[in-house]
């Protein structure tokens, strides 16, 4: 009899933990605004609307993560609004933590069966799966954001013709971020909350460092040797309990060991949130957000700014190519519009200064942006050394796209592993 009691009790616990587990990783499923159009299922065909043009988006995190995935979501909405009849369908939170057992090819199949004419897979984590899906569905254009399978000159060119890539030149955004951090730090110690280690994350961390070093020496007039720049990688783009380091803890460790500015390189907002909490407790700390234009909202007073992706124009281009029947494979690495960094229609990469940035520092940051824009400053220019002391760029040598994209190591002066 008592056996049975235990049985029922434990069964109950298992079930409850399953329910909890199922609910935990996902954000509250607030009925999203997007379905503004009449119920899609009720009205499969809308006679008066122009030809319906469905496109699919696959997001790695929640669509409202205030980071990478939300930036994509907004970019896709931007394009949706500008193309008559366009309609986005999306799957978010596609990662083993939230949707175990679901693969990219499976989701792509599903989106195609829903009528998607082109599908964007918006994570480096989807690289392999997108390639597999592209091969399986040769007639459906696919875009893997941040990938290089479609870069003919790149090291990993193997995409079929229906697979393209685009990416923003976030190096510039990261340089500006690094600059803002260097002009704010009082301890001279900058922490970089890195996601996982790959070509992309190495070059972005390096760019942040280069920007920081430049502004540290040029505007703050300090010795580059006094600038500490440490990278800690958590292992994935965002926190997956048990699988990655906990970014909250990493950020706290930074702040508690004298790093007063943390630059976020991950998809989510932990660094800024923690900085906000510590600042409320009287600590002088700041953070630089990443990915999403409105990222500073979580804790504006300690936010130095946010380098963000403005994906809208890139989505628009891809959709237009397909709609007009002009699709060919391409690989785009879109830069900022230096004339108007935050122009939604032209600039792929932007930077919004935060309330935590002092006026003086802000002026210097603006000056730095101007110099980057007019070409008078190019930070990927020699002499530059790798972390292990070997030469990256000889004196006066300007890095090619290949050299920047495939940055094999962190740079001299940066702390933290270059490889896992």
């Amino acid at each position: 009899m008592s056996n049975q009691r235990i049985w029922h009790l434990v069964a109950l616990l298992v079930v409850l933990s399953m329910i909890a587990g199922a609910c935990a990783p996902a954000p509250t499923p607030t009925p999203a605004p997007p379905a503004a159009q009449p119920e899609p299922t009720k009205a499969p065909e809308q006679p008066k609307a122009p030809q319906e043009f469905i496109f699919g988006v696959v997001l790695v995190g929640p669509y409202n993560d205030h980071g990478w995935s939300e930036a994509h979501y907004m970019g896709a909405k931007y394009a949706e609004e500008r193309i008559p009849g366009a309609k986005m369908i999306y799957v978010d939170n596609l990662n083993p933590g939230a949707k175990p057992g679901v693969t990219v090819p499976q989701v792509v199949d599903d989106l195609i069966s829903k009528g998607a004419k082109i599908i964007f897979t918006t994570s480096d984590d989807f690289k392999d799966g997108t390639l597999e899906a592209a091969k399986k569905n040769p007639n459906v254009p696919l875009v893997n954001v941040s990938g290089d399978h479609a870069w003919k000159e790149g090291k990993d060119y193997q995409a079929p013709s229906n697979l393209s890539n685009f990416m923003g030149r976030m190096e510039y955004g990261k340089m500006i971020a690094g600059c803002a951090a260097a002009l704010t730090t009082q301890t001279g110690k900058l922490g970089y909350l890195g996601p996982l280690i790959n070509d992309e994350t190495r070059r972005l961390a390096a760019a942040a460092y280069l920007g920081a070093k430049y502004c540290w020496t040029t505007y703050a007039k300090k010795d580059p040797a006094d600038l500490k720049f440490k990278v800690t990688w958590i292992g994935f783009w965002f926190n997956i309990p048990g699988q990655t380091l906990d970014p909250t803890k990493v950020a706290n460790d930074f702040y508690n060991s004298g790093y007063d500015v943390v630059l976020s390189g991950i998809d989510t907002t932990e660094a800024l949130v923690e900085a906000g909490k510590l600042a409320k407790a009287g600590k002088k700390v700041w953070a630089v957000q990443y990915d999403y234009e409105e990222g500073c909202k979580e804790a504006p007073e300690v936010c130095l700014g946010v380098p963000y992706f403005n994906w809208g124009p890139a989505y628009l281009k891809a959709l237009k190519l397909v709609q007009e029947g002009k699709w060919t494979q391409y690989w785009d690495w879109n830069g900022p519009d230096w004339k108007d960094l935050n122009n939604r229609d032209t600039s792929a990469v932007g930077f919004v200064k935060g309330a935590g940035l002092s006026k003086e520092a802000a002026a210097n940051v603006d000056d730095f942006i101007k110099k980057l824009g007019d070409g008078s400053v190019n930070l990927f220019k020699g002499p530059l050394k790798f972390q292990d002391g070997s030469v990256y760029l000889k004196d006066g040598e300007v890095a090619t796209d290949l050299q920047i994209w495939y940055l094999p190591q962190l740079l001299e002066g940066m702390e933290g592993p270059s490889k896992s």
Partner: protein, 353 residues
């Protein structure tokens, strides 16, 4: 209690669970009918979709088959998730060794054996902890799950990392020659997965019904002390139940690495909750092997079908997990009611007669 009343009670339980889900959906502002239809369409709307359901079915079947053995012996093998993971680790290790030197079929076969060994060892460890370390298998299992997960992260980031990349997202995917071939082009599930899963559960069913091993496991599960006194080598049988369950879980790990629609790589969380799903299946089936077959298919369908909730209704797909959990909860509650009624009516047979 009569059979009809028994089943009536069960159906009432399931009805209650569905009602609760309906209420939740309504509270979220979604039409429940639409949500259920989305799940249904998502699961069986097309042969391709159903193929994905079958993809999920195979590992759930394997886990359920193993768990039928441990549950029969009265053991809560919560460690099954870790056993799936350990199976997948062994499979990946074996494939890494053999993929370039052996023909694919041989490599796949050896990998299956490796998965079986890996899962069995990990489960046996939980058994040893229980029998000789006085560690309850539930807590031991949870600990071993965690260790298996950490080991995966370590392998993916360390010895088995992809060149130049430090991401936990997974090891280098295996080439298509090491993927189980699909039944038909476009139907992305292989016959092997389904056959292995079904064969496992049928064999377990036969073992429980017709063999001394099964009979003795049941005796242990119902009364350990009496079984021992009746001459059953209880420790050996409990260990065997653990090891066999782990072996089947390891085989599930194999399916998750080499299956047609898998990610073809080792990654953290590869077990994907299939082990826990197996526990729910077996509970819902009331430890009946044959019922586990349709129920696991049903659960796989809910898992896959509920993806449509996110896609079309902007609802979170974890609602599928909620539905599954509520179903089991309802059935357990019904089970409780039933055993109360049964206790009253079993007195009929009168200890006093």
């Amino acid at each position: 209690m009569s059979r009809a009343a028994d089943w009536g009670l069960r159906i009432a339980g399931i009805g209650a669970a569905l009602l609760l889900v309906t209420l939740i959906l309504a509270a979220l502002g979604t039409s429940p009918a639409q949500a259920f239809r989305l799940i249904w369409d998502g699961a069986v709307g097309s042969p391709a979709k159903f193929a994905y359901v079958l993809t999920a079915w195979a590992p759930v079947l394997l886990c359920a088959a193993g768990l039928l053995l441990t549950f029969a012996a009265g053991l809560w093998n919560i460690g099954i998730e870790g056993q799936v993971v350990m199976g997948a680790i062994f499979v990946t290790g074996m494939l890494r060794l053999t993929q370039d030197v052996l023909p694919p079929a041989a490599a796949l076969f050896l990998a299956a054996l490796a998965g079986i060994v890996g899962g069995a060892l990990w489960a046996a460890l939980a058994g040893v902890l229980r029998l000789y370390g006085q560690v309850n298998e539930i807590f031991g299992g949870l600990g071993l799950n965690f260790i298996a997960g950490s080991l995966t992260v370590y392998l993916v980031l360390g010895p088995w990392k992809r060149a130049g990349i430090g991401s936990t997202s997974g090891t280098q995917p295996f080439p298509p020659k090491l993927w189980l071939p699909p039944i038909l082009p476009g139907i992305n599930v292989s016959l092997v997965e389904i056959v292995v899963g079904l064969a496992a559960i049928v064999l377990v069913c036969l073992a429980l019904r017709g063999t001394y091993f099964g009979l003795r496991l049941k005796a242990i599960g119902k009364n350990l002390r009496s079984a021992f006194l009746l001459g059953v080598p209880t420790e050996r049988h409990m260990l065997a139940a653990f090891a066999l369950c782990g072996a089947l879980a390891g085989l599930a790990g194999w399916v998750l690495v080499v299956g047609t629609s898998s990610r073809h790589q080792l990654f953290p969380l590869i077990s994907g909750g299939y082990g826990f799903l197996g526990i729910l299946v077996v509970l819902l089936a009331n430890l009946n092997a044959l019922w586990s077959i349709p129920i696991s298919l049903f659960f796989a369908a809910i898992s896959m079908g509920s993806l449509q909730l996110a896609l079309q209704a902007q609802l979170d797909s974890s609602l599928g997990g909620v539905i599954q959990g509520l179903l089991v909860l309802a059935v357990l509650i019904v089970g409780g009611i039933r055993s109360r009624l049964a206790a009253a009516s079993s007195e009929r047979t009168a200890r006093s007669r």
